[in-house]
């Protein structure tokens, strides 16, 4: 039981350390890729591009009827 508890504590500790290091290393796209000549929008708080009802499946376009 002691080995199990220590294992959980160490796993959470390593995970937290990883989170801290990774979050310090990365920047948002709008920070990383904006230049003086190009502005990349901050996506926070804005609607996403695929819309709220997107389910991952793109319906096949209807074929024109032969007439």
């Amino acid at each position: 039981m002691k080995a199990f508890i220590i294992a959980l504590i160490v796993a959470v500790a390593i995970g937290t350390l990883a989170a801290t290091v990774l979050n310090e290393q990365q920047r948002f796209a709008y920070q990383a890729f904006a230049t003086s000549g190009a502005r990349v929008s901050d996506p926070a708080g804005h609607s996403n591009l695929v819309g709220p009802k997107w389910n991952g499946v793109t319906p096949e376009p209807e074929k024109p009827s032969k007439s």
Partner: protein, 343 residues
């Protein structure tokens, strides 16, 4: 006086130019009728088209001014194949792997039942099977694996199975935290797999005894127990599965944690496909491992629970290992009576 002739020549030249342009206009209008090029070529047919570009490269890219070169990607038809796999094939493959192994284990349990301890002269005594650091490594890796599995399955099945039950808002929150756990607990998992490799590789090299164990059905099919060292052939398979699949999951996972660091969009899609397929196979394999370590065999869990197993059980299932450990202990006791027995 000289201005008169000059003005006259100018007027004559202007008139001639006007007449010539007027005469040519109908001819030019005739040539450009219906959008025809004066040269006789069709600009639409001659222009660069999608088909032509795809013969040169599987993607069509443009030119952009921001430093994110990925944004130059305009069309990548392979992405449609990837999406079809992700949304259509993968859920079925995943369900088949996970539910299939659960059904197989259930059928095996109904047929074989729980493999019971067989009391013998050594029952009641114990022997240390796994030391504290080995159990720590096992539990750190396995607890992370369980979280990674559940959060990984949520990527595939969450929106199909969980979201209709708990609603979109709750599903969104859970998925966000599941995603955090998947990214961050991957690190102790990778460390755990590396530690397992170092700790147990020497006991997991396949040899002739394993072949005999396999031919005897591992003791599951017939009566009696085939010889085995510290790990039998089945456990060695689990070890190499964990090391192999764990390494593959680590490499493909790192590619996704650091997107586009080493691969382009096609590479990212390949990594995700490999990661998901190995992931569901890994889950199926570990479910079998969990079954045999808990419900399937009495006495097996103690090895990772307290570390101490019943000596009678150990002699039945790992007779060669017990003999080696006891011989080592006897030799050690001749050297120094205060030394603790080896594991």
């Amino acid at each position: 006086m000289r201005r008169g002739p000059t003005l006259f020549r100018t007027l004559v030249a202007a008139a001639a130019l006007t007449v010539s342009v007027g005469a040519l206009s109908p001819a030019l209008a005739q040539q450009t009728k219906d959008g025809l090029n004066p040269t006789g070529q069709n600009p639409t047919a001659e222009s660069v088209n999608e088909e032509f570009l795809f013969k040169q490269d599987p993607k069509i890219t443009g030119r952009i001014s921001i430093p994110d070169h990925k944004a130059a990607n305009l069309i990548q038809p392979a992405g449609r194949d990837y999406r079809a796999f992700r949304e259509s094939w993968l859920p079925w493959i995943g369900a088949l792997a996970v539910l299939g192994i659960i059904a197989l284990l259930g059928a095996f349990y109904l047929w074989r039942g729980r493999i019971r301890l067989e009391p013998n002269a050594d029952s009641g005594k114990t022997i240390l099977r796994f030391g504290g650091f080995e159990r720590f490594t096992h539990w750190m890796t396995s607890s992370c694996f369980i979280i990674l599995s559940l959060s990984g399955l949520n990527y595939i099945f969450g929106k199909r199975l969980l979201m209709p039950l708990i609603g979109a808002d709750a599903f969104g929150v859970i998925s966000q935290y599941a995603k955090y756990s998947h990214i961050y607990l991957a690190w102790p998992f990778m460390i755990g797999v590396a530690l397992m490799l170092v700790l147990w590789i020497k006991d997991n090299i396949p040899n002739r005894i394993d072949w005999q164990w396999i031919k005897a059905g591992g003791g599951f099919l017939g009566k009696g127990h085939p010889h085995a060292e510290r790990f039998n052939a089945g456990q060695k398979m689990v070890f190499w599965m964990v090391v192999g699949f764990g390494s593959a999951m680590s490499i493909t996972g790192l590619m996704m944690i650091f997107p586009f660091a080493l691969t382009d969009i096609t590479g990212m899609q390949v990594m995700q496909v490999v990661h998901s397929l190995i992931g569901v196979a890994f889950i199926a394999g570990i479910l079998a491992h969990i079954y045999i370590g808990t419900l399937g065999m009495e006495g097996a869990y103690d090895a990772m629970g307290s570390g101490q197993v019943d000596l009678g059980w150990a002699k039945d299932h790992h007779d060669l290992w017990v003999a080696k450990e006891q011989a080592k202990t006897r030799n050690d006791s001749r050297i120094s009576p205060h030394q603790v027995p080896a594991e």
